[in-house]
Symmetry: C2
Subunit: 326 residues, 2 copies
DNA sequence: CTGTTAGCGCCTTCAA
DNA sequence: TTGAAGGCGCTAACAG
């Protein structure tokens, strides 16, 4: 069933059918009715591939994440999906597992015209081979990126957020504040780490320790805490780079008999709703997850529509939510 | 940059370039080299849309979920993505928020040839309008569906799993076992409910109560527990249809001073890794989440390759993981 | 082994 | 207000 058959059945030309299909003006009402009737009658569905080829736009956006299982990611993706949908775009989801070759395979869909643009949440800005694949195609980095770098981005004030949180902990009397960070290839990891260092520096605190979780599963948080507890002088406060890791920390602290928050303050990152349900309820640095996704789409669409407009960088704000854990 | 330019630059025909591109045999080695050289030199990237139109296959699979934020969903989707990728397919993610019109909009991509098939995790089997949109296109239901129904599906032994779990609770001396169920439009909700009823029936237990969570966020679990606690005789055991809901239950039990597991056993569903990190560690009915995704893709691809083979139904097994909560 | 040719299904100028 | 015709970029017969 093609546009041509519809045209024949309706006794008009393919051009007219196309005009009806796309709500173009300049079709007599009676003609339109006739075409619409035929379309309904034979359940005609336009071939979108052909349309995409012809118009050279797919109205499809690619989203590259390293792991959709990370609840932070999935919430951002939900925001992306919602805003895309609202603008008539669809989402191609790519779970890269941080494997460069998979990312490369996916990014070739850009030059293949299968997608009109890409939102990445992965740490790819420092991978020249991938940047080259992206080339000049519309691209927005989400929750990752350096405002001073090329490439549009929607990020969060990682540096300040952690810096302020460390300062708050110090005010509250904590002396040995540790950071459980994630994969240091991400710029946001580096930014958070820098904020951490700066705050300790400002307060002239000598004690500092950074552990790296090899993963964003709570198990990794547990293991990081084990390593911290094995230190000659263990921390009396921990900032975790994800609420997921914080769950592991809370768990192991309980198991090891470390009282939270009395002997150990624990602060997560992200602001996932179940944080409030932990025991004790988890303090956290809340990110506007949905909004990160929404704004990323808005920037990307702007870029698709005006490829040569200046690059935009947007920084949203985090906010410390204090609960019982620290 | 099109195949034609490459052909011209290499001094061959477009057919030859196409053959090289697709690794077809019957191209002299020297010719192949020459073409490859030109392709590399001018960074030619084939237009995948054109190829898809021509071959009438997009190598793209649609995944329809109601909410990617549900950790069960995101883990299944990860399995889907992995297996699809391994077979050279990509994933189009659709977050329907259970809105029929959104689902309909997405499903039109099937007839639009943008995707070769669809995996649904939503409750759509009882929505005639959506089933009609799917028509005879390759379709597999994942984690949802009735083996006796038309439409291929990969499900889990919901009925038996809950039945066995209730029986186990009874053996352990529980008398008043409640079920916190989800959206009853899902077949799996109905199956679990049936298993629950059957087990109580078999044991001649009169007390029974089912609450419905309006949502799969832990808040909904909290609220459901509040309603159960308000009962004249509250339950001494609860099975929750999701670990996420169970977190809310554990939280509110703690808040209300209800001892778990002493006066209330709590058993979740799904087997999310952080369940073991709760306080107390959460017992749960574990589903093979990754495998659900993997098998769904395998069935779907089989269907795409042999549209007229008999429909397959596959049932994977759940397994009760007993921890401290009940 | 390679080239010519005919579409895939659609949109869109240009004429009528 | 409508139709005819060309072409988006590619693949796959069919010839040679």
């Amino acid at each position: 069933m093609s546009i041509e058959k519809v045209a024949r059945l309706a006794g008009v030309s393919t051009a007219t059918v196309s005009r009806v299909l796309n709500n173009h003006p300049g079709v007599r009402a009676t003609t339109r009715e006739k075409v619409l009737a035929v379309i309904a009658e034979c359940h005609y569905q336009p071939n979108l591939l052909a349309r995409q080829l012809r118009t050279s736009q797919s109205r499809m956006l690619m989203v590259l994440v390293s792991n959709i299982t990370n609840p932070f990611c999935s919430r951002v993706v939900r925001g992306i999906e919602a805003e895309a949908e609202a603008n008539g775009y669809h989402i191609l989801l790519c779970n890269s597992e941080s494997q460069t070759e998979r990312e490369a395979a996916y990014l070739s869909l850009l030059s293949g015209k299968v997608v009109d643009g890409v939102i990445t949440m992965d740490a790819i800005s420092n991978l020249p081979s991938l940047r080259q694949l992206i080339g000049d195609y519309p691209w927005v980095q989400c929750a990752e990126g350096d405002p001073n770098d090329q490439g549009a981005s929607v990020t969060v004030n990682n540096y300040e957020a952690v810096m302020a949180t460390v300062a708050t902990l110090i005010e509250r009397g904590r002396q040995r504040i540790a950071l459980i960070n994630g994969d240091p290839r991400y710029l946001f990891s580096q930014q958070r780490e820098a904020g951490y260092r700066k705050a300790l520096d400002d307060a002239n605190l000598a004690w500092s320790h950074i552990e790296y979780a090899h993963d964003v599963e709570c198990q990794a948080g547990s293991e990081a805490l084990e390593r911290l507890l094995a230190l000659p002088t263990p921390p009396d406060a921990i900032i975790t780079v994800s609420d997921v890791l914080a769950v592991g920390v809370l768990h192991t602290a309980r198991e090891r008999g470390v009282a939270v928050p009395e002997s150990l303050a624990v602060i997560g990152f992200d602001g996932l709703p179940w944080g409030a349900m932990m025991s004790p309820p988890l303090s956290t640095i809340e990110q506007p997850m949905h909004q990160l996704g929404v704004r990323s789409v808005q920037l990307l669409l702007a870029r698709i529509r005006q490829p040569h407009a200046p690059l935009q960088h947007e920084q949203l704000r985090c906010r410390l939510v204090t609960r019982a854990s620290g």
